[in-house]
Every structure is written in C-alpha cells, then in structure tokens.
C-alpha cells in the first residue's frame, strides 16, 4: 500500500463533511499495471512501416542575419528524401496563444532572414533513417552576419539596447503599457506612512523541464488523406488547431492521438514538432517522426523563464506590511510562446497571499536572445514565491519578529480584497501555517493559534 498523506480533519471540519463512496479513496492508478509491464504505449513505441525521420539544422548564433542557406550538401546524403525550409511552410509565423486572441504572431516555424537564438531551427531534413537525417542536417551550410545579442532582461530594456524584435520593442505590449500593471491603493502614501522600508532583489536562472521522455511525435498519413498525429502534447486541441493554421489545412484533415506522456511539466505545451512532422509526411507521403534528441531537449526546448524581481515593502514596527511594490522581469527569450500569459499570471499573484492595502506591480515580459521560455509547472508563480517568501523572512529578521507570526498577521482572509480586485474566498493560509507549526513544534501564542481564515482579528 502506498504511503498516504494523512488528512487533518480537525481543520474545516464542517465544510469538509461529505458522504462519498469512491471519492477520497486511495484507488489504485488505472495505468500502473501498464507502466510496470511495459505495455503502456508512448508515442515512440509506435513503429509504422516506412517511417521517415526529421532532423533540424539549427542556428549556431545568438542573434544574426542569415545571408545564405545552402542545402545541396544535405541532398547529397544517401537516404535524404527532402529538405524543408521556411518557403515550404504555408503559414510560417505563429504564436501558440493566438487561439485565445494573443498576438502578434512573432515566431517562425523555420527561420527566414534572421535568427534570434542559438538553436533556432532553420532547415528540416527528412530521411529514410535517423542517421541520414542527422547527417543531412549537419551538411546544411548557413552564412551569417552576427548582430549584437542581448542576454539579460534589464539590459534588453535599457536605453540604447539593440531592438531584437520586429514589433519594435524588446517587451510585450499590454494594451499600450510596457508591462502588466497592478495598481491598488496608493503605494507612495503607504511608504510615507511606514515605519521602515525594506527592499530586496531576487533572481533565477532558466530551468529545464527535463522530462525523461523527449518531446516528439509520429505522423501517419491515413487512407482517407488525413494525418494521424501521435503526440505527447499536453494539449491535444492546442496542437491540432495550431498545426492546422500553420499548414493552412482544415482542422478536420488532422487527428491528434495522445494522452500518454512521459513527463510534461509544461514543456510539451508548445506546438513545435507537429507542424514540421506533418509537413514531412505530406511532402513524402510517408509516416514521419520528429523527436528531440536529449541534447535538443536540453538546449532548445522551452525553459522556465529566468526572472529578476525587486520588492520594496513599507512595514510598520508591529509587523503590518502597509505597502508593497514589485517590479518583475520575465525573460521570455527570443519568442513569446506562453510568456505574455505567464507574466500576467505573475502579476495577479502579487503581492502573495497577504492583504496589503497599497500595492504597485509592474511585470515585464522581456525578449532576449536566449532560448525561448514558456510554461513550466507553476510558471509566473514559482520564482515569484521564491522572492516573496524569501523577502518575508528578510522582513521578519529586520523586525526581529517570528517569521510565522509575521505571515499570520498579514495573511489574507475570506472577504479581503486582493490587489487585482478579486474578493478572496476559501482561503486557508492561516491554517496551513498553524498546521506546519505543529509539525515542527513551533510555538505560537494563543492569539495566533486562535486565528482563522474565516475572520480577521480586531485591531
């Protein structure tokens, strides 16, 4: 029997009451037996006859103009069937989130006259074998003129920074603003009233999803002319709809079959491999596989964005935080992917699970010449929480206050207005802190022990 995390039913006793038959039971996973016998079929376990292989020639430069692309060497490799350049892609420019109205289309499926990051795809090679495809991709010759590269978010926004994006700014534009803003109360008045100002700067490096199963797909042409896409995508219709738009075909000509994924963590939400594999299948009339090598999975699959976060708090000596200003930079890398969305999510998350009357948040989605970042488990929030909760500890130390009492004093409660003007409900920060304190025998005074998310103590 697997270990079960116990449920402490003394908290929220009335709310959690319920009479269930199978909900709340530690039912065995329906997929476990397939996993332990090797019967679970992942996309790459499919071996259709006549399978071709797609490999990519990628940019060796961070930022460069492409002067010439010579594919003749690739075509001489025995077993190479086709090369695919941007001219073969019906609608080469896209942004995954256009399905929900995010624009502009800022990323080419295959690079045209410039590359914006090292590893950007330029030419796809389709071959009888993986070896031939790899060899063909290696034989493509690209002449570049290097352009100044920007590898840091704050440098990208500095005066005089080279503009790397066609849209004309190195940041996403939110309805005329250079950043997603939260404005709540009057942060300057809050700072003026505060007993002290406590600031902190936090940052992170990019992080890989590193799923053990690489991102990939196998596309099999069907008798009726449709393409069946066996994919480890995390979002079947995202993949279907974006692929159809890129290929300029009706969505009914494609079918995505998936649902078994060897780890995603957000890395398999971008629609990268399917359009080119479909194109390879359409151009050769044969099944095509495009799966990242481990090196590609490490190098060119999206990352968790690097972030820079500055926090400035106005704090009273009794521990109340009366103002918080957050400036947050998300390194989107070269292209948008899901980052404009994640940056808004980061803004909505501020100022953390605390009720602070004056909040001022600027979250920038910044383009650099780094590998594009995108969704990853907790994106917009994980690094923000690192900054917020490190800063809470910093504030507690500055005040000489118990770090849990500081949090309990400021914790949001039901009915509080959050900075993005949503009324909090179903809150439980107070209770998780009380419970965790119990786990380690951390002493809380009776008034803190008596606190509840359902009501705010007077005074």
């Amino acid at each position: 029997m697997g270990r079960l995390t116990p449920i402490d039913t003394t908290y929220f006793k009335d709310e959690r009451a319920g009479d269930f038959t199978v909900i709340g039971s530690a039912v065995q996973r329906s997929d476990a037996r397939g996993h332990v016998t090797g019967r679970t079929l992942f996309f790459e376990d499919l071996t259709p006859p006549g399978l071709t292989h797609v490999k990519i020639h990628r940019s060796t430069r961070h930022h460069a103009r492409i002067d010439r692309v010579d594919v003749s060497g690739a075509l001489e490799v025995p077993g190479v069937l086709r090369v695919i350049t941007h001219e073969d892609v019906p609608n080469n420019w896209y942004v995954v989130l256009r399905l929900i109205g995010v624009g502009p289309d800022d990323e080419p499926v295959l690079a045209e006259d410039r590359v914006l990051y090292r590893g950007e795809p330029i030419v796809a090679v389709v071959a009888e074998t993986e070896e031939a495809a790899r060899e063909g991709a290696a034989r493509v010759v690209v002449d570049y003129t290097d352009l100044p590269a920007v590898l840091d978010v704050e440098a990208a926004l500095a005066d005089g920074a080279p503009i790397i994006k066609q849209a004309g700014t190195n940041h996403f534009v939110y309805e005329g603003h250079p950043c997603r803003r939260i404005r709540f109360g009057d942060v300057e008045r809050g700072f003026a009233e505060a007993d002290r100002i406590i600031e902190g700067r936090y940052s992170s490096s990019p992080i890989e999803h590193a799923p053990v199963e690489p991102t990939g797909c196998i596309v099999v042409p069907q008798g009726d002319g449709r393409l069946r896409i066996h994919s480890n995508t995390q979002a079947a219709f995202f993949t279907l709809d974006n692929t159809a738009l890129i290929l300029g075909v009706p969505p009914t000509s494609l079918r995505v079959v998936g649902g078994t994924v060897g780890g995603g963590f957000g890395g398999k939400v971008d629609v990268i491999v399917e359009p080119l594999a479909c194109l390879a299948a359409m151009l050769t009339g044969r099944p095509a596989k495009y799966v990242y090598s481990r090196a590609e999975e490490m190098q060119v699959s999206s990352t968790r964005a690097a972030e820079h976060i500055h926090i400035k708090d106005g704090v009273m000596d009794d521990g109340r935080i009366v103002a918080r200003q957050v400036t947050l930079y998300v390194d989107a890398g070269a292209y948008s992917r899901h980052s404009p969305y994640g940056t808004t999510k980061a803004a909505a998350h501020m100022p953390g699970p605390y009720t602070i009357p004056n909040v001022h948040v600027d979250c920038y989605c910044v383009y650099t010449n780094r590998t594009p970042s995108s969704a990853m488990r907790g994106f917009g929030v994980t690094i923000g929480d690192f900054a917020l909760e490190s800063h809470m500890d910093h504030v507690a130390r500055e005040l000489g206050m118990d770090p849990l009492r500081l949090r309990l004093k400021n914790a949001y409660r039901d009915g509080d207005m959050k900075a993005h003007r949503k009324i909090a409900s179903g809150t439980a920060l107070v209770e998780v802190i009380q419970s965790a304190a119990d786990l380690v025998g951390h002493d809380l005074p009776p008034e803190y022990r008596a606190m509840s998310s359902a009501e705010r103590p007077e005074g």
Binding site: V27, V36, V212
Partner: protein, 192 residues
Amino acid sequence: MPSTIVTLKLNGTERELIARPSTTLLSALRDTFGLTGAKRGCAQGGCGSCTVLLDGRPAVSCLIPVVTVDGCAVETVEGLADGDRLDDVQQAFVDHFATQCGFCTPGMIMSATALLNREPAPTRQDVTEAICGNVCRCTGYEPIVTAVLSAAESRRDGAAEGRHDSAAERRHDGAGERHRDAAAPLSGKAAG
C-alpha cells in the same frame, strides 16, 4: 562494415537478427523485436530508461552495439510477468504508487530486479545505489525506494515459505483488469 547475424537469448527464447555495426541493443529490442518496454530517454546512457539485464547484469541498452553481445542472455521488462501475474517488483511498484508518468518505470524495475537477484536483503543504500543511474522526474524517488525494499521483503517471505509467487497470487484478484481504464479500490478511505 557488413551486417552480421546476432543471436540473443531474449527473455529465455533464442532469437536472431541481422544487425549493422551501429545497431544498438535498444534499437534491436524496440525496432526489430517490438519490445518497446525499454525506453529511449536520452540515447546517451544518462537516464537509465533503456535498462535491461545483460547476462543478469543491468546495462543501458542504448550504448551497446548489439553485435558485441552476440550469444548473451537479455532480459527486458516484458519478460518479468508470468502471463498476467506480475512479479514481486512489478507488484510492489503498483502497490506503493511508485509510478507516475511511467516512462522511467521499466528501466527502474530492471535495475531493481538486478539488485534483488544479487542481493536478496538490500539496505536502503543498496537500493539508492542500484537505481542511481535511473532518472525519475515525477516521483521524487521515495516511493520507488519503498517499493524495491518491499519487493525484497515479499520475495524473502515467498522464498522462506517455499512459494515464490504467492504474493503476486494473493493480490491478483483481477479486479483492476476487467476494464481497460479502471481499477478497484485497494483500501477504504484515507485515514482521517
């Protein structure tokens, strides 16, 4: 270099294939014999998801040219269960919720099997060393370590009582198998 005929004793059965010098054991298993339990996670020997037993020892099959193991015994995850009856390691992985996405599971189970074949009473450190070449990104490893230790215990119990497969038999009520995607509750509600 020409292709050659290679003979493997594959999960107990002699099998032959024609292999090029560059054909890996992993490719032979997956592409020639259709045994896709061993996974290709990196093709660099770095993730362990292609682990099989080669003459009883764990090996990353993605790095081994199959021509170099002509005549060897190869065991894969597909060879562990007796029909529908799971072996102790497989059953322990199910019982202890040691699988999430499942991609590392076959390799993990083969590394664990190699350990238990050589050391019936492993310590926790033996287990962590045995699986240290197998990357899992989902579970945090703890349930896997627990499962391997538990499998060792049930094997010892079975051996002591002279009925090696009893644990699997006892548990194999088939309840979870009647429908493709459903399983019976193993227990009542979580402790409250």
